[in-house]
């Protein structure tokens, strides 16, 4: 009865956690997508500044993401495009982390 429960507790604590790679990918994807989406719109709400040559620029540094994410700009449409890029990259990274982790656990517990 109780002794069996203690054995189960030990089994539980000795077990190694497996990650669900798909879920991890989805979570990381949504997080990264939201960071880009909110970050872009935050800069839009905050407003930009005039450059010495008279141009109105919003978020010049974040704009550089456009070099990796083709089509991305610091605009509302760009925030949606950025969300999808962020989601795709996050999903890829999360799934890769989960997959590699599970492979290593399989190897080490074999």
């Amino acid at each position: 009865m109780d002794a069996e429960k203690i054995l189960n507790d030990e089994k539980l604590l000795r077990g190694i956690l497996r990650l669900n790679a798909k879920i991890l990918g989805l979570v990381l994807g949504i997080l990264m997508g939201l960071v880009i989406f909110i970050g872009t719109n935050w800069l839009l709400i905050k407003g930009g500044q005039m450059t010495p040559d008279g141009k109105y620029v919003v978020g010049p540094h974040l704009q550089l993401l456009g070099q990796f994410f083709i089509g991305y700009k610091v605009s509302f449409l760009g925030s949606i495009i950025g969300f999808f890029y962020g989601f795709a990259l996050g999903t890829l990274c999360g799934t890769a982390i989960g997959w590699i982790y599970n492979k290593i656990v399989d190897f080490r517990t074999r």
């Binding site: 009865m1 109780d2 604590l13 077990g15 956690l17 070099q67 982390i97 982790y101 080490r108």
Partner: protein, 324 residues
């Protein structure tokens, strides 16, 4: 004091029909033969019931499995062989040495331990261990209760004090509540152990158990630190590698900013060679981050499990704590 004896000791004596009712309350007695076994483990249960007609023992307690602190040495086991009997019968009257010998033989017959593994033993006799629920006890008990109800300064508590098959925790609860009654409360002690769950065990449906067996390890198991460290390290390294390669081939303003990474990653540049150096740095930092994350996750999960277990232990005594 058992209810029967209490009624017999009343002065002046109780009416005849009440005394007859009290005398109708019967008890079952039992004795325990405790044996010290020279083995660290005999069986995994706290107790087992024996139904083998070849032996007289009815239940065997394994005290060590209730708590490891019940035995002084972890290398030994103390088993309590319980014999259900009546005061004065042949088992009850048997000399201690013979009872120990009987217990040793029965333990060997049951295949639980070798007779030679038994180092020592002792006998404890417990008169009136169980109130007997026979066909007339309820009627007799009602007569006794009706008679005793007239005494405001008398509280009936415990298994034998109420002729009721209370557990130890029920019995202690009746004691606590009776103390409160003396101080002016109006608890109905007979209501205890009627609606409450049987305290010693909680049963789960097989399907619920299967779900728990699957679910619990997926939540509470330890995270492999090396596994997560390697996984995050690999992904971080590859991210920096591909970002560097991409910018090295495309050029543009972003490469100026990416090059700033060399403030942390000495030797890093936005070139092919820099991509490999960045990958190594990325792997290193990702590895450290992943390892630390898994370590902290395991630490806090272990602390959480410890808190849950402590809470569960405290809840066991909830009834008592409520009254302190």
């Amino acid at each position: 004091m058992p209810l029967r004896e209490a009624l017999q000791k009343f002065k002046p004596g109780v009416p005849k029909e009440v005394l007859d009712a009290a005398n109708d309350l019967k008890y079952r007695d039992f004795l325990t033969v405790a044996l010290i076994i020279n083995k660290s483990e005999v069986f995994p249960d706290t107790w087992i019931y024996i139904h083998d007609p070849e032996v007289k023992v009815g239940r065997i307690q394994n005290f060590k499995n209730w708590s490891p602190f019940m035995v002084p040495k972890p290398s030994k086991t103390c088993l309590g062989l319980e014999y259900f009997c009546f005061e004065g019968d042949s088992l009850w009257s048997m000399p201690d040495a013979e009872l120990i010998e009987l217990a040793k033989n029965e333990l060997e017959t049951l295949g639980l331990a070798n007779k030679n593994d038994v180092e020592d033993g002792m006998v404890a006799r417990m008169p009136k261990a169980y109130p007997i629920y026979d066909s007339t006890f309820q009627k007799s008990l009602d007569v006794v209760r009706q008679f005793l109800n007239r005494f405001d300064n008398l509280q009936l508590v415990g298994r034998n004090g109420m002729h009721k098959y209370n557990n130890q925790d029920h019995s202690m609860l009746t004691g606590i509540l009776s103390a409160e009654n003396i101080l002016g409360a109006n608890h109905d002690l007979w209501a205890i152990n009627i609606e409450q769950e049987y305290h010693e065990e909680m049963t789960l449906e097989p399907s619920e158990e299967a779900v728990l067996d699957k679910l619990l390890p997926s939540v509470f198991s330890r995270m492999d630190q090396l596994g997560l460290a390697t996984a995050t390290g690999s992904v971080c390294g590859l991210l920096i590698f591909f970002a560097t390669i991409w910018l090295a081939s495309q050029g543009g303003v972003a490469s100026i900013y990416l090059r700033l990474l060399n403030q942390y990653f000495f030797g890093y540049t936005v070139t092919m060679k820099g991509a490999f150096i960045g990958m190594a740095y990325g792997f290193l930092w990702g590895f450290l981050f992943g390892w630390l994350f898994a370590y902290l996750r395991n630490f806090f999960m272990a602390y959480y499990i410890y808190r849950i277990k402590r809470k569960a232990e405290l809840l066991t005594f909830r009834d008592f704590l409520d009254h302190f």
